[in-house]
Amino acid sequence: MAFRDRLLSTIRAARPVLEAPGTLVVGSEVPNLLEPGFAATLVVSQDLDIGVPVDGHAALKERLPGLREFEPSADEPSVWTPRSPDLLELNFVGMDSKQDPAEAYVLEDDRLPLLVFGGLALLSPGPQIELEGGMVRLPRLAGLCLEKLVTGRTGEKGERDLLVALALLTLARPADLEELEGLYRRLKPEARHAVFAHLTILSLLGPRDGMPDPRPWRNEVGALLRRLEAQGQKP
């Protein structure tokens, strides 16, 4: 079964929770869903990240019985594993808009504990897209892109995350870049430096299978870095 079909089937099967108020599809699948026709050509991990606002956690839990095609992982209850190999794992993560992007904590719960990533505080609800009759809410592009740039990861996963940020940058309109700049200005100096450092790494990356080739986009990446510097926000 093609990855795109698994992704769309997963979204359909997860609709009960995806339609909970404030819930967003986050993570690396977002650029896959933003491709024309949801083409899903990027090679990313085989899960669907579901961002749950901490103040919407209780409401989302009430919808968990609707997830008939998944079951909680015995090892990791924030992950729900599919009963069918034709579906992807669901990975629930917490979003707390009041959180410092440099922090993380566990929202403890008997049924669905969540790791609340500070970087996800940069996300806000964006467009709804219609998928096979249902609506899925994605985050705004600027916040998701900045979250990818501010979150430090190492190795192959880190580089693929930066290429996901690039995939989002290639879709960014001028208004998205202005919004990203505004969010950047609100970051603490350490986080700004992390954004700078990751942009320099992204500018020098080589191509990876199944990801956008960063080399033709080097000038755009540099232009974003220079734009952030020009705001007097150089770390």
Binding site: A102, Y105, D109
Partner: protein, 119 residues
């Protein structure tokens, strides 16, 4: 209920943040040279390894060496030059603009800036 795996992930994230703080404090010190070196390369559309006499001639003619070159060991002469100037150097060897072994081994680097970038 929490799980060991969630607690472990929080600890890993906090470790990453400690590293980030350390990198931030290092930004003007020796370890920060890699950030400063990458920052210079971001502005380069093309990179060439050139012989030292050519690099010294470019400096004698008004080009300036990027300070980060002297912060590396062994030091490098890193110079931004217009494309036409570097193409006039027959021994210039084109390099991919990335942290490859070739680029890191070059003693003298001539970098062509992207259009509109002033260095």
């Amino acid at each position: 209920m929490t799980t060991p795996s969630l607690d472990r992930q929080v600890r890993e994230l906090r470790s990453q943040l400690l590293v980030r703080s350390w990198e931030y404090r290092q930004r003007h010190h020796a370890h920060g040279v890699w950030f400063r070196f990458r920052r210079v390369l971001v502005d380069a559309k093309e990179a060439y390894a050139i012989p030292r006499p050519e690099a010294e001639a470019l400096i004698a003619n008004g080009s300036h060496a990027e300070p980060v070159g002297s912060e590396l060991q062994p030091p490098k002469l890193i110079i931004f030059v217009p494309a036409e100037r570097v193409r006039a150097i027959p021994t210039a060897r084109s390099l991919e603009v990335r942290l490859s072994a070739d680029l890191l081994q070059a003693e003298c680097l001539a970098l062509v800036p992207f259009e509109g970038v002033s260095r």
